[in-house]
C-alpha cells in the first residue's frame, strides 16, 4: 500500500465491545450496552496516535456475517466492501472479537480476513476471559490467522493500549490479510482447528449466568420477576422523585419572586419573566428527577444483559399480536424517547416486524409525557395508599403506561391482520452474559441525560414558551376591558376557535392553546399551560403552582380526558421526522399521525363522556 492509511473501521460480531473500544480510542461517548444491536449507524471519530498521526475511526453496527439479514448489518457489509455511498473501503480493519466467545466470533473474523484488506484482530473482554480461566495463545493465533492479534479490555482505562500501539506501528506499511476461498463448512472447520490449537476453555458457560437464568427464564417465576420489576420501576419513578421535586418547585418559586421583585409590577418584562420563564420553564424543570430515575433503571437494565431475557420471555406473546421479541428493546427504549427506539428497530431483520414496531413505538409512554401525566395525577388523583401497599397515584401512572402498551399490541394485531405477506418471521436472538453495571458509566450516562433535558428546556421549550408569551400578550386588551388580557390576544382567540373542535372531549380553551406549541414537543404543553394560566390569573402567587390552579378550574373528567389524549396523540415532530427517515416514506408518517390522532380523539371522547356520566 502506497498511500498513508488513515481510515480504520471497527468490525465484529454484535456485542463484542466495538463501541466501547471506539469510545476508548476517540474519547467519544457513543452508546454502549449489553445486548446485540446497540449501534445501528456508522459513527465517525478520530484520534491522534502516539506517533502524531491523526487516524479516523469508524464504529460500525455488529454483524454475524456479511450475508446481511438486517439493515444495520447491511451498513457494515457495504462499508467493508467499499460499497457504502460516498465512502471508500477502510484502509485498516480492526476486527473485534469477544475472547469469551471465540467459537462464534472467529468465524466472522475469517470472513473479514477474506476481504483481503489489512486486518488487526483485537481480542476484547480479556478481563472476563481471564476470570473464566480461558487461556489463549495469542502468538500462535496470530500465526495461524496471518494477521496481528492484540488483547484489549475496552472498558478499562488504558485497556486499548496494545491496540493503539499496534495500529500505530502497522499504519504506514499495512499488509493485506491472506485470502482463502473456503465454503461455509470449511470456515467452521477452520475455526474448530484454530480453537483446538490455540484456546483452552475450562467450561462453556458461566456458572452465575446459568444460575440466574434458571430463575429469570423460568416459565412462571420469570414472568413474575419481569412484571414485578416493571411495576417497581413505575412506583419508584413516582414516589422517589417527590421530595426532590418539591424542593425544586420551592426553589424556582423563590427565585422567581426574588428576580421579578426588582422589576416594576405590570411591565412587559415582569410578565415575560414571571409568566413566561418561571411559570413556563419552571413547570417543566421540576420533572428532571423523575426523568433521571427512569433513565437510571433503563441504563442499569441495558448494561445488565437482562433485556434480551425479557425479550425471550415475551416473544411468544408479541409474536401472536404481530410483533417479535426483538421489538422489546426498541419499544423499551421508547419509554425514554421514541426517537432512539425507532432507530433501534434497525436490528430487527424482518421488514414487516420492523415497520410494525416503528408505527407502534410512539404509543410507548416516552419521558416527555411524564411531566404531563405527573402534573395531572398530582392535581387530580388523591395521594392515598391502596391495600397499604401501593400508592393510588402510582397505580394511575402504571395504568397510563399500560394503556399505551395494550393499544400498541392492539394496533400491531390489526396490522398483522391487514398484511398479505404471511411468510415466516425470524427471531434468532443472542442472549449475552450478565454483567454488573459500572457505577461511573451509569453516573456519566445520567449526567448526559440531565444535560440533554436541560438543553431541551433551555432551547426549544424556552423558545416556544417565549413565543407563546408573545402570542398571549399581544394584541393588548382594549381600554375598559373586563376580561384578563389573554382573552383578547392572538393565542386566546386561537384557543377559543379550537375549543369548538375539542369541547366534546372536555378541553377548555386554555388546554387548546397549550396543545398548539405542544405539537412540537410534549413537555412544552406543560410549560404552555403554566404560561397561559399565569397570564390569565390575577394572583401572582399561583403562577409557579400550576397544579393547584388546574385542580380548581378543571373537572376530573377534563383531566382524565387530557391524560387519555396524551396516551395516543403524536405530539412530537421529531418522532414523525424520524419515522420518515427510517422508513423513507411519507405515507408511513401520514398513517402514523392519522391513526394516533384518531385514537387520541376517540379515547378522550370516550373518557370524557363516561367520566361525566358517572360523576
Amino acid at each position: 500500500m502506497s498511500a498513508v492509511a488513515t481510515r480504520i473501521a471497527l468490525v465484529g460480531n454484535p456485542n463484542c465491545g466495538k463501541t466501547a473500544l471506539f469510545n476508548q480510542l476517540t474519547g467519544g461517548r457513543q452508546k454502549v450496552a449489553n445486548y446485540a444491536g446497540v449501534t445501528v449507524e456508522r459513527k465517525e471519530g478520530r484520534f491522534v496516535a502516539p506517533s502524531g498521526r491523526t487516524l479516523h475511526v469508524l464504529d460500525l453496527p455488529g454483524a454475524y456475517s456479511f450475508d446481511a439479514t438486517s439493515p444495520d448489518e447491511a451498513i457494515t457489509r457495504d462499508v467493508c466492501h467499499g460499497r457504502y455511498p460516498g465512502e471508500a473501503a477502510p484502509d485498516l480493519i480492526v476486527c473485534v472479537a469477544d475472547a469469551t466467545n471465540l467459537r462464534l466470533h472467529l468465524r466472522f473474523v475469517l470472513e473479514v480476513r477474506r476481504l483481503g484488506r489489512p486486518v488487526v484482530l483485537a481480542l476484547n473482554m480479556m478481563d472476563a476471559a481471564r476470570r473464566r480461566g480461558i487461556v489463549i495463545d495469542v502468538a500462535r493465533l496470530s500465526q495461524r490467522l496471518g494477521v496481528p492479534v492484540v488483547e484489549t479490555v475496552a472498558v478499562k482505562r488504558g485497556g486499548a493500549k496494545a491496540l493503539i500501539e499496534r495500529i500505530d506501528a502497522s499504519v504506514p506499511n499495512v499488509v493485506p490479510a491472506p485470502i482463502d476461498q473456503a465454503g461455509v463448512d470449511e470456515l467452521h472447520a477452520e475455526v474448530r482447528a484454530i480453537l483446538a490449537d490455540t484456546v483452552t476453555l475450562p467450561r462453556d458457560t458461566v456458572a452465575i449466568d446459568d444460575a440466574i437464568d434458571r430463575w429469570a427464564l423460568h416459565p412462571v417465576f420469570g414472568l413474575a420477576i419481569l412484571a414485578a420489576l416493571m411495576f417497581f420501576i413505575f412506583q419508584a419513578v413516582f414516589s422517589w422523585a417527590q421530595p426532590v421535586m418539591d424542593g425544586i418547585e420551592a426553589g424556582i418559586a423563590a427565585l422567581g419572586t426574588f428576580v421579578t421583585g426588582f422589576l416594576p409590577e405590570g411591565s412587559a418584562l415582569h410578565s415575560l419573566l414571571n409568566d413566561g420563564l418561571f411559570a413556563g420553564l419552571g413547570a417543566v424543570l421540576v420533572f428532571l428527577p423523575q426523568i433521571l430515575i427512569l433513565f437510571l433503571f433503563i441504563l442499569v437494565l441495558e448494561e445488565s444483559g437482562y433485556l434480551p431475557r425479557a425479550a425471550f420471555l415475551l416473544d411468544r406473546m408479541m409474536f401472536r399480536v404481530g410483533l417479535t421479541g426483538r421489538a422489546f428493546i426498541p419499544l423499551l427504549s421508547s419509554f425514554a424517547c421514541a426517537i432512539p427506539g425507532i432507530m433501534a428497530t434497525r436490528s430487527i431483520q424482518d421488514p414487516r416486524d420492523r415497520l410494525t414496531t416503528i408505527l407502534v413505538a410512539p404509543l410507548m409512554t416516552c419521558s416527555a409525557r411524564l411531566p404531563v401525566y405527573t402534573l395531572l395525577i398530582a392535581a387530580f388523583i388523591p395521594n392515598r395508599s391502596v391495600w397499604g401497599l401501593f400508592n393510588l397515584q402510582g397505580i394511575v401512572l402504571f395504568t397510563l403506561y399500560f394503556a399505551g402498551i395494550f393499544s400498541a399490541l392492539g394496533v400491531a394485531f390489526v396490522m398483522k391482520r391487514l398484511r398479505k405477506d404471511k411468510s415466516e418471521h425470524a427471531l434468532i436472538m443472542e442472549l449475552p452474559s450478565y454483567r454488573l453495571p459500572n457505577v461511573r458509566d451509569i453516573a456519566l450516562g445520567l449526567w448526559e441525560r440531565a444535560l440533554i433535558f436541560l438543553k431541551r428546556v433551555g432551547g426549544i421549550i424556552l423558545a416556544l414558551t417565549v413565543l407563546l408569551w408573545f402570542l398571549s400578550s399581544f394584541p393588548g386588551p382594549p381600554p375598559g376591558a373586563t376580561q384578563p388580557a389573554i382573552d383578547y390576544s392572538i393565542a386566546g382567540r386561537l384557543g377559543r376557535m379550537l375549543e369548538y373542535v375539542f369541547s366534546p372531549i372536555g378541553f377548555n380553551w386554555q388546554i387548546c392553546v397549550a396543545l398548539v406549541p405542544g405539537l412540537a414537543a410534549r413537555e412544552v404543553a406543560v410549560a404552555a399551560l403554566g404560561t397561559v394560566y399565569a397570564m390569565s390569573g390575577s394572583d401572582d402567587a399561583l403562577a409557579s403552582q400550576l397544579g393547584p390552579v388546574i385542580a380548581q378550574q378543571w373537572t376530573l373528567a377534563t383531566a382524565l380526558s387530557l391524560l387519555a389524549w396524551y396516551v395516543f396523540a403524536p405530539q412530537c415532530m421529531s418522532t414523525l421526522a424520524v419515522i420518515r427517515r427510517e422508513t423513507n416514506s411519507w405515507r408511513n408518517v401520514a398513517v402514523a399521525a392519522g391513526y394516533l390522532f384518531g385514537l387520541a380523539y376517540l379515547a378522550s371522547l370516550a373518557t370524557y363522556q363516561i367520566a361525566r356520566a358517572l360523576s
Binding site: T69, L104, T205, F312, D315, R316, E424, I428
Partner: protein, 81 residues
C-alpha cells in the same frame, strides 16, 4: 431428531440444517451462527408460553430460537440419530 423436539438439558450434536424452502435465509443464518454438523448443542430452557421460543446453547453462546427455526436443525442425542 429435530432440535425443536430435543429434551431439555440433554447434550446433542448437530447433524445438519435443512432449508425450509429454496435459498432459506433463516437456515443460512443458522449455519453462519455455527449450527453445522458436529457442533454440540443443548436445549437450556423453553419460553413460558407454549414452550416457545427455545433457549439453545451452542459453544459459549446462547440463542433464542423459535420452534420453527429450531425445527430446521437435525440433531442426534446421546449417539442415536
Amino acid at each position: 431428531m429435530r432440535l425443536s423436539d430435543a429434551p431439555k438439558g440433554a447434550q446433542a450434536v448437530v447433524q445438519s440444517v435443512t432449508d425450509a424452502h429454496p435459498a432459506d435465509p433463516i437456515a443460512q443464518r443458522l449455519r453462519d451462527l455455527g449450527f453445522v454438523a458436529g457442533e454440540p448443542v443443548r436445549l437450556v430452557a423453553r419460553g413460558p408460553l407454549g414452550g416457545d421460543p427455545l433457549l439453545i446453547q451452542i459453544g459459549s453462546t446462547r440463542f433464542a430460537l423459535r420452534k420453527t427455526e429450531a425445527a430446521r436443525v437435525e440433531i442426534s442425542v446421546g449417539g442415536a440419530a
